[in-house]
């Protein structure tokens, strides 16, 4: 297969461009979107590449429609993605919930910008952490990944597709304006260097009768693709294992929703990913995610030079959240600092995880700029 960009070598590209290239290498062949800063370049790259790789790129009338279209494409058998920023992500929440309820593998990129509302279109923020995890209504779970470099934006996009397919769930790639527009050296691998996971299909007619049943005991039902003769009915209403609406029975609802949440919970070890930096002997820990982690790495180095035993826990997955790991960390350190580009969203999760075992302090910064390393250092040394 021929690619419209160089593969098997490094290139100097923006985060948005990296996401588009990774999606295509991951097998994405359907993109639907609506332009919004700072995510538009993902769309523009997809618009350029998709027709060349026999995929589809279409500009929908809004984000509601974009989200709907990728879900439709997924049921027709395609790996599908959309990308947006805060205000558009809000519009997607209705159908993001639909994707969770119908267990549809799709990838949604949210390039965060300052909010609420149209806020600061061109500046970076991390204000959508809660929206990504809890934005849609009802009890639910999904996967949220958060890159901190352009290379990670690339790698995590491939991972996002793999996790979506493996667990039949929407995956949110939560990035920000800084990573979106920053150019960095990225290794774009050869297709054969990439591990690709495809959704489990029904092995036979019998399996296809239970598109929402835990027939393999792993919580993830095989997905009968439309047009293959299985005559599957998919509904956002509470449904039984066969997909039939059963909207008033508490047991049916409970069984369905618990399975949807537990299929991710019981695979936490496979899904959750983090990087630890100088944490082994640390007395103070910094917990961060995304772009801020880069300042945090530098801050740890400066703190060590000054004799403070500091370490960093960089979260690559924001949800599912590893509350237990944070508690273990809290048992080992005196204090945990949470620098983030909002007024305390990751902080809430970390504090809950720490469970009172260590003090947790928020280092908040809003307005569009990433924390400087010194801003973190100064807060730690007081």
């Amino acid at each position: 297969m021929r690619y419209p960009f160089p593969v098997g070598k490094s290139d100097f590209i923006q985060g948005d461009e990296a996401i588009a290239r990774a999606a295509i290498l991951a097998g994405c062949r359907f993109y639907a979107g609506y332009p919004i800063t700072p995510a538009s370049e993902i769309f523009e790259a997809m618009a350029l590449y998709m027709p060349l790789v026999d995929g589809v790129s279409i500009q929908m009338e809004d984000e509601l429609a974009s989200m709907a279209a990728i879900i439709g494409a997924s049921w027709a058998g395609a790996k599908a993605m959309t990308a947006t920023s805060g205000p558009g992500f809000s519009l997607m929440q209705e159908n993001l919930g639909y994707a969770i309820m119908t267990e549809t593998p799709v990838v949604v990129v949210d390039v965060q910008r300052g909010g609420p509302s149209t806020g600061q279109p061109t500046l970076a923020a991390q204000g959508d952490i809660m929206q990504a995890i809890w934005g849609t209504h009802g009890d639910h779970s999904l996967i949220v990944l958060s890159p901190s470099t352009v290379q990670e934006a690339f790698d995590f996009t491939i991972r996002a597709f793999n996790l979506a397919e493996k667990y039949r769930t929407p995956v949110v790639l939560l990035t920000d304006a800084e990573i979106a527009h920053m150019r960095e050296r990225v290794y774009v691998p050869l297709p054969e260097e990439i591990e690709i996971i495809n959704r489990k299909l029904p092995a036979n007619e019998e399996e296809a009768k239970f598109p929402f049943g835990d027939i393999h005991g792993d919580g993830v039902p095989p997905m009968p693709i439309f047009g293959r003769g299985y005559r599957t009915y998919v509904t956002g209403l509470t449904h039984d294992e066969r997909g039939r609406p059963r909207t008033v029975e508490a047991e049916v609802h409970e069984k369905l929703i618990r399975r949807i949440i537990e299929k991710l919970e019981r695979n936490r070890e496979d899904i959750i990913s983090y990087d630890a930096f100088e944490l082994d002997d640390a007395e103070v820990a910094i917990v961060s995610t995304g772009i801020v982690s880069r300042s945090a790495v530098r801050a740890v180095k400066i703190l060590r030079e000054r004799g403070v035993k500091a370490g960093l826990l960089k979260l690559n997955t924001i949800w599912p959240f590893d509350f237990d790991m944070i508690e273990e960390l809290a048992e080992r350190v005196r204090k945990i600092y949470v620098p983030e580009m909002n007024l305390g969203q990751l902080y809430h999760l970390v504090k809950e995880g720490a469970n009172g075992k260590a003090e947790v302090e928020l280092i908040a910064k809003i307005g569009g700029e990433v924390h400087t390393p010194m801003e973190i250092v100064e807060r730690v040394v007081g």
Binding site: A32, M60, W75, A76, Y98
Partner: protein, 281 residues
């Protein structure tokens, strides 16, 4: 046309384990469904290559009762979901079953854009002037003066003429009938299913329970008589002065043309892209 018995159609196309339907006695949705199934049967279309999509509402429950692949989505968004299905697998034929509130209120933007793109789909639109499922609020199709729970003193807004809108936005085929025009209805659906691009068949459909009761027409026969009174065939309407058409609904075939559909346009676009990039001649 030879008409098969309704039982034959039912047994061939409905999911037995989903019956009975949720529809009230006297509801017109079942009739529109039967016409659609008869059209599919008459054309001999492959059941495995048709996907039914819908939003939310009484009308949108239809895909659940038919033995086909079906996507029952969120309120108003069916056509946006369908865009993804169709472009990801152009071999699938798509039928959308929609209510008037679903299609023209919350889904109005998706409707006009799906038509503008000429998305290859057949829409069967149930126009009952009301929000049936939520209990009789006014729909954007409600004629002035009609009552709904949210316009207890009679609708004061102007109604949408969905067929008219579809013609202007560029649909390839547009027809409107009441559910009592069954032969015309079936024939229109057949034409629609055979065409590329966006096709829409609107049915004026009785909703005695949520709509009729509030408008002094508690039964389907009363609604039938009212439809006979307010509908005017297209040929006749052309000769009528506008004052006389006030408060009337024109029925008939409003558009029948063959503009290229979205799938064909995108195929050509892909070719153009490859050519412009020097990937192929």
């Amino acid at each position: 046309m030879y008409l098969k018995s309704a039982y034959e159609i039912r047994d061939k196309y409905l999911r037995k384990d989903m019956l009975p339907t949720i529809f009230c006695p006297g509801c017109g949705i079942g009739s529109a469904l039967q016409y659609t199934l008869r059209a599919i049967d008459d054309l001999g279309l492959n059941q495995d290559e048709i996907v039914w999509v819908s939003g939310i509402g009484c009308s949108s429950r239809v895909p659940g009762f038919v033995n086909f692949d079906g996507l029952h989505t969120t309120h108003g968004r069916a056509l946006a979901f369908a865009t993804g299905i169709k472009l990801a697998n152009p071999d699938l034929k798509i039928i959308a079953f929609m209510g008037d509130g679903d299609a023209a209120a919350i889904g109005g933007n998706h409707l006009i854009h799906a038509i503008r793109r000429n998305l290859d789909i057949t829409v069967i639109l149930i126009n009952n002037f009301t929000y049936g499922m939520t209990g009789g609020q006014v729909a954007p199709t409600a004629l002035k003066g009609l009552r709904g729970t949210t316009a207890p003193y009679g609708q004061f807004e102007n109604p949408f003429d969905i067929a008219d809108l579809a013609v202007s936005a560029g649909a390839n085929y547009v027809a409107r009938w009441s559910v009592f025009n069954y032969l015309q209805g079936i024939n229109s659906i057949k034409k629609a299913l055979n065409k590329e691009g966006f096709t829409l068949v609107e049915f004026l459909s009785p909703c005695p329970i949520s709509f009729g009761r509030r408008n002094r027409m508690k039964t389907a026969p009363e609604l039938l008589r009212w439809y006979q009174k307010i509908t005017v065939p297209l040929a006749k309407a052309k000769k009528m002065p506008p004052e006389e058409l006030e408060g009337k609904i024109v029925i008939g075939e409003f558009a029948d043309r063959d503009r290229p559909g979205l799938v064909r346009e995108y195929e050509a676009y892909k070719k153009r892209a490859k050519k412009m990039m020097g990937w192929e001649e």
